[in-house]
Subunit: 288 residues, 2 copies
């Protein structure tokens, strides 16, 4: 057992799967659920994701608290929790952006900021809610922890041990680098997919276009099926890095446009060949 | 039986699968293979995709000739074939772009242009070559025929019947509209995926970025694993429509950039929600 009592704020896919995995691994004795949505808490109880619903006062007495609600609510949640945190309690989160979460934690936790371990599991699905939770969601997935200068070493070690018990590979990154990296490999592709689908849908003759879209379009736009609320929050929470990536992508598309416009066959072949080789190289490393 | 003898120029995935499907359906008596690559012809023979390799003179005596080699070779192939075409022979193709193919056919076929039925099967795979051919490649897939004003009605009917025998759903479109539609739903996504991967790969710290790329990135960039040579040819063959789509996409990304920059939460939620709804609507129609 790694912790006696775990409290989860937000008992949906991410929090519920964390709980199921830790229960299965015998890494936790009791799991409390906190949330504003009674239906979600009731479902989490019925599905065995949590042992009981709890108040902020009770959650503060847990050994570890995981925040797994939308990232925009971080500061408000931490302000509700802070006055009740028992000595030695650890707080961690599962938000997709990190620099803004660290700032919110610094503002809300005051002297207890050293007990906060920022985290981001690289797992998810277009599905959400308690019903989507699975004990194996984190199996073999990466979890990035972005400890700050004040983070207690033993708090970091405990959070790392919990994620490893859930089956994940834990890596650490600087929060600012984390946000730049995920702006590029996750946030930008999501925005680019949403933009492509919306641009077609806005056309007067959009139906004719969708009518002939096939498997390449389906995969390219799969992530445009993701939660609009979640991606609104991420785009705003990581605004600066997202704008930098949008600019870099538009510049790359404009360079490609110039290559097509000038009928530069060799330039196109070089670009496409480099891209294919880079992707194949990446896929090989993913498999190994 | 729909035709006695079919000749296929280019015995790879597209031509080989057409042959296998028609043989399985009993729609053709004999299939001839024509190509410049002896290894490919030998493999096609061994795999039973063709009954024998043939010269241009022999191919001209077939009832129907399918062009299934790269689209850039269309005019040269038709010039080699034209002098040998027997009376009543039908010529069709499987190229991804149509207006340039129609122009090439008009230039190469002269009086026999009426016997040319331009076509585009919406099927394929990252795999290519004779070994990738499958009898069921076209099962349930769309095939777009783009007959021109001069196309013989009975030639069109025969080509339609062949594709239907291969399991495909045949639709007809104007060639220019075809090229605009596929520039938007196929060519642009391919170019956008190649550009995204290449832009990351060119960065000095690109490895750090690829290291944290996950399933969203994998699907968004799957089509960047496609053939560089084929996509160079398509980008150039459909240059005007591709440039129009690149411009529309860059404009959409710049509008999205403005929405993020101005922290317009409601604007982001609206755009993402519209895109998700449009994609869900499209997926429903695909399933039905």
């Amino acid at each position: 057992m790694i912790v006696g009592t775990l409290a989860i704020v937000g008992t949906g896919l991410i929090g519920g799967s964390f709980s199921l995995a830790l229960k299965q691994a015998g890494a936790v004795h009791e799991v409390l659920g906190v949330g504003r949505n009674p239906a979600s808490l009731t479902a989490a109880l019925e599905l065995g994701l949590i042992d009981r619903a709890a108040s902020w006062v009770e959650a503060g007495q847990a050994d570890c608290v995981l925040l797994a609600m939308p990232v925009g609510e971080t500061e408000a949640v931490l302000k509700s929790l802070a006055p009740h945190l028992k000595t030695g309690a650890i707080v961690t989160d599962a938000g997709s952006t990190k620099a803004n979460v660290v700032e919110a934690a610094r503002a809300a936790l005051g002297a207890r900021f050293a007990d906060f371990v920022p985290g981001h599991p690289i797992a998810g699905s277009e599905q959400s809610g308690p019903g989507a939770a699975r004990a194996d969601l984190y199996q073999g997935r990466k979890v990035v922890l972005t400890p700050h200068a004040d983070t207690r070493a033993d708090a970091l070690a405990t959070v790392r041990a919990l994620w490893e018990a859930a089956g994940a590979q834990v890596e650490t990154l600087d929060a600012e680098l984390h946000d730049r990296v995920f702006a590029a490999v996750s946030h930008l592709p999501h925005l680019a997919a949403f933009a492509l689908v919306d641009e077609l849908a806005q056309r007067a003759d959009g139906d004719t276009f969708f009518r002939f879209a096939a498997s390449g379009f389906r995969d390219f736009t799969r992530i445009a099926g993701s939660s609009p609320e979640m991606w609104r929050d991420i785009a705003l929470a990581n605004r600066e890095a997202v704008l930098t990536e949008l600019d870099a992508y538009v510049a790359a598309l404009q360079a490609l446009r110039q290559t097509v416009a000038s009928e530069d066959a060799e330039g196109l072949l070089k670009l496409f060949s480099r891209a294919r080789a880079a992707r194949e190289n990446w896929m090989k490393k993913q498999d190994s």
